[in-house]
């Protein structure tokens, strides 16, 4: 059994505030601090990812990418951001004003809300819900609301079609994502994200990608595929298909409203990567190889650094997918989900049930 005293759930700042302020005030301060921390992550993730996406894309295509703004284009996201902020926010004639401007906020909020249950480190988690996985599935659905409302309120048939296609795709692939999350819940015996990470304590081979022999690896790959589709990222970005079509549900959006969708997209990518990390790659736990001196060195590195390293590696894989694979057709996409992924996930669940019943994992 894992020694939880090594991983206290409290942290220095929270304890200090609890000690100095009276009860309710301390809780309120802590909540505000937590929201600020998450907002910082939400704010900085797209900055890092925009730069990373552009550089990674360029190098996959034997280009250099942004090189002019700052050292190797490091200030490029800032330039992009300023450009988007200064652009005029336009609303098409006949659009539903309230819903039109609500939709991007809804999308951004959904990705923001999922981050509250992600364990960035053993003491860096806003709240650890007992049904954390359930919460993740439920809140991720809000993002689809944003997409559908954006298409609906734009008063543009192409926006509407794009939104319906994105929505159909996201709803379909959410089923395989939920099934894969269920698989991990079944294997680890808990739905709390923190406990799921602890269930992977030990060496690298105790991470769910390896601990569930071979099938873990399959589940990991399936999770990557379904989350790529869930994110509406290439190669599953038929609704937007930026190189061929207009922007799908974002067609009518400009300026800061578009930036919100953009932000939501990148934060969603980070969110999917951190969920992959939490479920399959041992979350914030340092990789241990069973070699005492090496393990001590790796363990000395703070958990959140490991968490971000693993998440960004997964994000790199998403980008690798994007710049390698050609886009399938819509019917191929739906075939993949309903005829390959869903049966495969049910099969994996069955196998996992057997493993758990026979006490093999």
């Amino acid at each position: 059994m894992i020694d939880t005293s090594r991983f206290p759930a409290t942290n220095a700042i929270g304890d200090f505030i609890r000690a100095t302020l009276p009860g309710p005030a301390a809780e309120l301060t802590n909540i505000v601090l937590a929201v600020l921390a998450i907002l910082t992550v939400v704010g900085l993730t797209p900055v890092a990812l925009i730069w990373m996406e552009r550089k990674v894309a360029a190098h996959f295509q034997a280009r250099l990418g942004p090189m002019r703004v700052g050292y190797h284009g490091l200030l490029q996201p800032l330039a992009d951001g300023i450009k988007l902020i200064f652009k005029e926010v336009m609303k098409p004639e006949g659009a539903d004003t309230f819903v039109f401007f609500l939709a991007p906020i809804l999308s951004a909020t959904a990705s923001f809300m999922v981050l509250t249950v992600i364990p960035f480190d053993h003491h860096l988690q806003v709240t650890d819900l007992a049904g954390g996985v359930l919460y993740v599935i439920a809140v991720a659905g809000l993002g689809i609301m944003g997409v559908l409302l954006a298409g609906w309120s734009s008063n543009n048939k192409y926006s509407l079609l794009g939104a319906m296609r994105s929505g159909a795709q996201m709803i379909s692939y959410e089923i395989s994502l939920a099934l894969l999350m269920l698989l991990i819940v079944l294997l680890s015996g808990t739905a709390s994200l923190r406990e799921i990470v602890f269930s992977q304590a030990g060496t690298v081979l105790d991470w769910w990608i390896f601990k569930f022999p071979l099938f873990g690896l399959v589940a990991f790959v399936l999770f990557l595929i379904s989350s790529t589709a869930e994110l509406n990222r290439a190669p599953f970005d038929m609704a937007e298909a930026e190189s061929e079509l207009t922007g799908g549900f974002t067609t009518e959006y400009s300026g800061i409203s578009f930036a919100m969708f953009f932000l939501a997209e990148f934060v969603n990518m980070f969110m999917a990567a951190s969920l992959t990390t939490t479920f399959f790659l041992g979350g914030f736990l340092a990789p241990q190889f069973g070699l005492a001196p090496l393990d001590r060195v790796l363990d000395a590195i703070p958990g959140f650094l490991w968490f971000f390293l693993k998440s960004y590696s997964v994000i790199f894989i998403y980008m690798w997918f994007r710049w390698t694979f050609p886009r399938p057709r819509v019917d191929q996409l739906m075939n993949l989900e309903w005829k390959v992924l869903v049966p495969a996930n049910f099969f994996l669940l069955l196998v996992a049930g057997l493993f758990v019943a026979m006490g093999l994992v």
């Binding site: 990674v56 360029a58 190098h59 996959f60 295509q61 034997a62 280009r63 250099l64 090189m67 690798w320 997918f321 710049w323 390698t324 694979f325 019917d331 191929q332 075939n335 005829k339 390959v340």
Partner: protein, 175 residues
């Protein structure tokens, strides 16, 4: 004949039903399906290997940091800049015989050749006019030349402020 057509019309082929049917197989089979799946996955991995190769080899990058490397940037041999005359390495005289084939080959009337007689009364090149503003860099003149006397140079900073700056005299006196 007629019955055949009817049969094929009535049947929905597995491909049309959206099922994976490997090449050379008429019907769906589990073995075929799994082979198809494995081959598909393998091809995806191959593609990822290819792109990763580009990612980890910065030496393969083709982008030029142009204004910065202006001094060292050498254009590639196949690049077609403006037209240039090839001269004889020993004497420095142009190889051009003023035959006028390039003038005839040019679809835009870019080239004008004025021949003159040398003291031995042979026809030699007098002036070679090249109106760069009309040139589309199509390379037809170079291909038509029987003596290898003209080539496409690799210069690329060819903008000019005045149209008359693009009337180039490649050989002979300026007017």
């Amino acid at each position: 004949m007629k019955t055949n057509a009817k049969n094929t019309q009535g049947r929905v082929r597995p491909v049309e039903r959206g099922e994976f049917v490997p090449d050379g197989q008429a019907h769906w089979s589990l073995a075929g399906y799994l082979t198809h799946l494995a081959n598909g996955c393998l091809s995806l991995v191959k593609g990822m290997g290819l792109t990763f190769g580009y990612f980890v080899h910065p030496g393969r990058i083709v982008t030029q940091q142009y204004p910065e490397n202006r001094e060292t940037l050498a254009m590639f041999p196949r690049f077609r800049g403006r037209l240039a005359l090839v001269t004889d390495a020993a004497s420095g005289a142009p190889l051009c015989t003023a035959c006028g084939m390039c003038e005839k080959a040019c679809p835009n009337g870019t080239i004008s050749i004025l021949a003159r007689r040398d003291p031995a009364n042979r026809k030699v090149l007098g002036r070679y006019l090249y109106r760069f503003s009309q040139c589309t860099l199509c390379n037809l003149c170079v291909e038509s030349c029987a003596f290898g006397a003209i080539r496409m140079a690799q210069d690329f900073e060819l903008a000019a402020y005045d149209r008359s700056d693009l009337q180039l005299v490649l050989y002979g006196k300026e007017d």
